[in-house]
Amino acid sequence: MWLVRPAIPDDVHQILEIAGTAGSEAARLSSTLPRQRDALAERIAYAQASLAVKAGAADRPQRFLFVLENTATGKIHGTAGIDARAGNGQPFYNYRRDALIHASHELGISSRVEVLYPSHGLTDRTLLCSFSITPELRNTEAFELLSRARILFIASHRHWFTKQIVVEIQGVQLADGSVPFWDSLGRHFFNMDFDTADQYSGLLSKTFIAELMPPNPVYVTLLSEAAQAALGQPHELTVPNLELLQREGFQAGCYLDIFDGGPVLEARTDALHTLVTSQVKALHGATEEGGDDYLIAAGEGAGFRCALTQATGTLKGTLKVPVKTWDLLGKTAGDEVRVAPC
């Protein structure tokens, strides 16, 4: 069975393997997840510390990291993260795509000019991040579990998160690894290729962005045609992810990723589909298989677990769940679980 649980230090090796074996094109680790062992270990330690925080006492912005585990083999097949505050205490960079009307009464001309404004507007919003999954699981129920488990986590720890939630979708990257938006804009200022910059942004403080990013707005019309075409467009491999998030209620607004021009999706946290449709139930045993498909989550902090299960609701507000699922969740009869229909 598939299980989503918080990452632990022992997962480091397997997480790095996802990046290594699957190849950069197939399951390129999200830029917010470092590809270096030490940095990744630090990230996991940070996530564990974030889970241990007691009610509202976090001394630094919380960052969470979950893994998708095949419980039969113990193998990890994917990662998903949440940053409670985008930017993690530092500015969170985006471009805001906006328009100006350049008009001349005398000449009877009015034209719409699109401009990309550097923005920190999304700083401190809750951010879904660090999503990666092995290629064979794309478009499967495991894929959906990994992504939506985060929303059940948010539902169970709502006070840790903000009213607005955002997620950056990877932008267009061509088969040769080049990123049109980066090549037309960022490269001139950062003097490095996209992958290098992308890695730095996962690894280093974001100070380098402030230092190197052009501070003035950028006219869209001066970008290369390929870069203009890529604005707000998702990488084709992220389309299933994008669609899943759209079903959750995320919508593309006016924000773009500063490196690859990919879209930033926004939603109101309390309106997320999984959160709205989720319910807290008492766990009951089911002897026979069958019932509807549910996402089921239980536990707090480091004890958080989320899985897929078949279950049947009862009139008494309890949920009949197969016992093998109990074990996954580490729960027993009468314990509270949170479920959302698949």
């Binding site: 350049h102 008009a103 001349s104 005398e106 000449l107 001309i109 034209s111 000019v113 401009v115 037309s184 804009l185 001139h188 200022f189 950062f190 003097n191 490095m192 730095y200 280093l204 403080s205 100070t207 380098f208 230092e211 190197l212 990013m213 052009p214 003035n216 707005p217 950028v218 006219y219 019309t221 001066l222 970008l223």
Partner: protein
């Protein structure tokens, strides 16, 4: 004989013919009768002091005295940016550096500026083809420096000239194609024509206001920023010889450079001297090379006239003018005149001993 004098109404047809021949590229003098007529009347009002001298447009004609025709024109706009907004791009460098990453990137950037506002501009220089050579262009251009110096209080301390930027035979400007046209769906020649008709500020309103990062422009466009059209290269060299220098501003359409100088440092101004006019009965051969001639101005605000005489006419206190020159200059014996070398320095001073 050729003499500089204020432009007048009767010059309209000559001016129109010249403007027509010049074609594209001379933004400030389009072949448009109404506009030219308007410019002439502005100049007339300026010389007759119907308008404030600081707001004036001083246009001079080069007249061939044998037929009274205007064969050249040059001008001074006492202040730019008074009524309309005067735009340039300032070419500057932004450095983005990260010690952490060892990155240090210089990004040339164009900033929209109005820095030349309230500055005097020398402009509108045009010489009929058949009069090119023999120092006529020098006279047409340099006579303005004598005027600027003579009436310095009406002009700014600094004067500038906008030099025509690079465009090809079809009138296409690489900078316009890469930048202006992206914001304003129009050919450069048309935008240029509209500018000449006084619509430059309107067009500028449609142009980008935020800085333009040059690395985002194609090489063809970047290569012409601050460069002059090959036809303008001689004019640029002439101004450089006078002490004008590129001041970091370029034209917002074609990227042509703005050159500037302080009036008191302009070579013609520094080398100019005053003499009393003496009308000589001796036969003077006026037909000597430009390098052996000096400009003689009558120092008049309303009826400014400049002609050239051989440097040998210059004496210690006086300058000997043949009667026809004195007449063309509207000068009487004993009048104070101002002299400056037409071409090389030192001619006046050596002749003057």
């Amino acid at each position: 004989m050729l003499v500089i004098r204020p432009l007048q109404e009767t010059d309209l047809e000559d001016l129109y013919a010249m403007a027509q021949k010049a074609g594209k590229g001379l933004t400030t003098l389009p072949a448009d009768r109404d506009l030219l007529r308007h410019k002439i009347s502005l100049a007339r009002d300026t010389f007759s002091q119907k308008c404030a001298p600081e707001a004036g447009l001083y246009l001079f004609a080069l007249e061939d005295t044998k037929n009274g025709k205007a064969v050249g024109i040059s001008g001074i706009q006492a202040r730019v940016g008074l009524d309309e907004v005067f735009y340039n791009y300032r070419l500057s460098i932004a450095v983005n550096a990260s010690k952490e990453l060892g990155v240090h990137v210089r990004t040339p950037t164009l900033h929209l500026s109005n820095d030349m506002t309230d500055t005097s501009e020398i402009c509108s220089l045009l010489l009929a083809d058949e009069y090119h050579g023999g120092g006529n262009g020098l006279l047409l251009s340099r006579c303005r420096f004598l005027y600027l110096d003579e009436f310095r209080k009406h002009f700014s301390e600094k004067v500038f000239a906008e030099m025509r930027g690079v465009s090809d035979e079809q009138g296409r400007s690489p900078l316009w194609d890469a930048l202006g046209s992206k914001f304003f769906d129009m050919e450069f020649s048309e935008a240029d024509r509209l500018s000449g008709l006084g619509n430059k500020a309107f067009i500028a309103e449609l142009m980008p206001k935020y800085p333009i990062y040059l690395p985002m422009l194609p090489d063809s466009a970047r290569a012409v920023i601050g460069r002059v059209h090959s036809n303008t290269a001689p004019a640029l060299r002439m101004l450089q010889a006078e002490g004008f220098n590129f001041n970091g501003l370029v034209d917002i359409f074609d990227g042509g450079p703005v050159v500037e100088a302080f009036v008191h440092t302009i070579r013609t101004v520094r080398d100019s001297i005053n003499r009393y006019a003496k009308v000589t009965g001796k036969n003077v051969n006026l037909d000597v090379p430009a390098s052996e001639r000096v400009m003689v101005s009558n120092r008049s605000f309303r009826d400014f006239r400049v002609a050239t005489v051989p440097a040998t006419c210059v004496g210690v206190d006086t300058v000997s003018l043949p009667p026809e020159v004195a007449e063309a200059l509207h000068v009487e014996p004993g009048d104070s005149v101002r002299l400056a070398p037409l071409k090389d320095r030192a001619k006046t001073t050596t002749a003057a001993g």
